[in-house]
Structures are given as structure tokens and as C-alpha cells.
């Protein structure tokens, strides 16, 4: 528990920050009407996951640091996702001349 940890910052503090970041990202993902802000919220959520991976890697995994390798893969996938997402956004803007998320309802039944 807390007294076992060597540093002054317990593992729980990192987890709390990551949980807050993740929930902010989820709220923004649901409620944003600007399509660029939706992509920003996804980036926030991915960063929260990365904080979790890094803190567990440092506190539990010892010197094997598998969590750091995983977070590097997450960073890679996030970069690819941002590029493709913004390209989709640009072509949507060319076709619809708006970036309001409420107007992209072509697939709604």
C-alpha cells in the first residue's frame, strides 16, 4: 500500500489524474458539435490510457518496463488516427461545407 511505495507520489494519484482526463475526454466526445473538437477529445482519452500504462509500468513492472513499450505503440496508433481523422474531416467539409456534427446524419434511420 502507500507506505510501501518509495516515492512521495502514490500510484493512486496518477490513476486519479488519468481517470479525470479520461472522463473529460468522454464528455467532450459526446457533446462536441465541432468535429475538430471530437478528435481532440479522442486524443485526451488516449493520453489518459497512456498515463495509466506508464504509471503501472513504473510502479509494478519493475525494470522490465513493458508498459513503456505499449505506450509507444499507443502513441504510434494515435498519430495515424489523427492523420486519417483529419483527412476524413477535410473531405467531409468539402462535401457538406460544414463541420457541425449534427449535420452528419446521413446514416441515421
Amino acid at each position: 500500500m502507500l507506505e510501501n511505495s518509495i516515492g512521495p507520489v502514490p500510484l493512486q494519484a496518477y490513476l486519479i489524474v488519468a481517470a479525470f482526463l479520461f472522463c473529460t475526454g468522454v464528455w467532450g466526445l459526446i457533446n462536441s458539435r465541432n468535429a475538430v473538437r471530437v478528435l481532440m477529445s479522442i486524443e485526451l482519452m488516449l493520453n489518459a490510457v497512456n498515463i495509466n500504462l506508464m504509471s503501472f509500468s513504473s510502479y509494478i513492472d519493475g525494470s522490465i518496463i513493458r508498459g513503456q513499450v505499449f505506450s509507444i505503440f499507443v502513441i504510434t496508433v494515435a498519430a495515424a488516427e489523427a492523420a486519417v481523422g483529419l483527412a476524413i474531416l477535410l473531405s467531409l467539409y468539402r462535401n457538406r461545407v460544414t463541420i457541425d456534427m449534427e449535420s452528419f446524419n446521413l446514416l441515421k434511420w
Binding site: 490513476l15 472522463c23 519493475g62 489523427a82 483527412a87 457541425d100
Partner: protein
Amino acid sequence: MNIAYSTELICFLILSAVIVSGSLAVVLLENIVYSAFLLGGVFMAVAGLYLLLNASFVAAAQILVYVGAVNVLILFAIMLVNKKEKLKPIKGLKTRKLISGGVCGGLLILLLRVSITTKWNLPGPTSIGEEATERIGEHLFTDYLLPFELASILLLMAMIGAIVLARRDISISTGDINDFKNKKSLINKKIPLLSENSLK
């Protein structure tokens, strides 16, 4: 409590305050340009947390990839699609925000409860220091070799896909571009961002 402990604690508190307030501002601010710049600040603060966790290589990768690439890409996208448009008011937007806020708050409470009440079997943080980069390299080329190669293929596919998706339909003839004598010719042509048939 010696000075190293208190310094680390103060750094953690400042970084987490920046992360929490910055992420709220990214989601809540009206102006999207401010949101984009604050997002860069949040990414920098997350990189600071990685430094506190003895992971200098991932902190550098975070700054290079997120602040240097993703954030700049988002800023360019904002510049390309920045049109002041009046959003149509929707019925029940307030209730939707309240309900989703309740759901997200519940999720937050659940996550906090799990992370606080679980008895983590902690050996404690290991200060691996400069060795971390070597370990990551060993992992990438031994037991995580296949995901590493797949990541390179993924990046290639994302690059080609982004080019294909964002390509303009109008083609500019190379004669116009190589026309050095009258350099103004490309500017005078006024090639629009939106193609002609998409506006109809």
C-alpha cells in the same frame, strides 16, 4: 521529508493541476483555436508526468509526436475548415449535456473507487533512469518485433490513406507550377479549397 520528495510532490501537483484544468478548458471553451493551444499544454504536462515516472524516452516521444505532429496537424485542420457558422439550435441539448455529464461523473466515481480501494501489490517505483531507452530497444527488437513491424505498416497505410482522402479533385497541371517566368500565374488562378461541383 527531504527536499527531493517535496520537489517531486510539488511538480506532480502542478502538472496534474495543468492537466485537469487544461482538459476541462479544451472541452468547454467556445473558441476552438484556444482549445487547440491548450491541448498542446496538456500534452506537455503529460510529458512532464512521464519524466516524473522515470521515462525520459517516452516523454521525448510524447513531445515530438503529440506536440510536434498531432497538435500542429489539428491547428492546420482548424485553419483549413475555419468557417464561422451559426450552429442550429437543437431541441434538448441542455438535457443531453446534463445526462452525459451524469454518466461521465458516474464513470469517474467508479474509476476512482476502483483505484483507491484496490490493494495494489506495489514493489514501488523503480528508478531505471537512462537504461530505459536500451530496454525499450531490446523489447522492440525481440519480443515485440511483430507489433513493431505492424506499426510501421500501419503508419504507411495511414499516410497513403490521408493523402488519398484529403486530395483535391481538381488537378493543377505541372506546366503551371513550373512556369517560372510569371510566378503570379498560380496565385491569379485562385484555386478554391472546395471543388466546383461540391458547392452545387
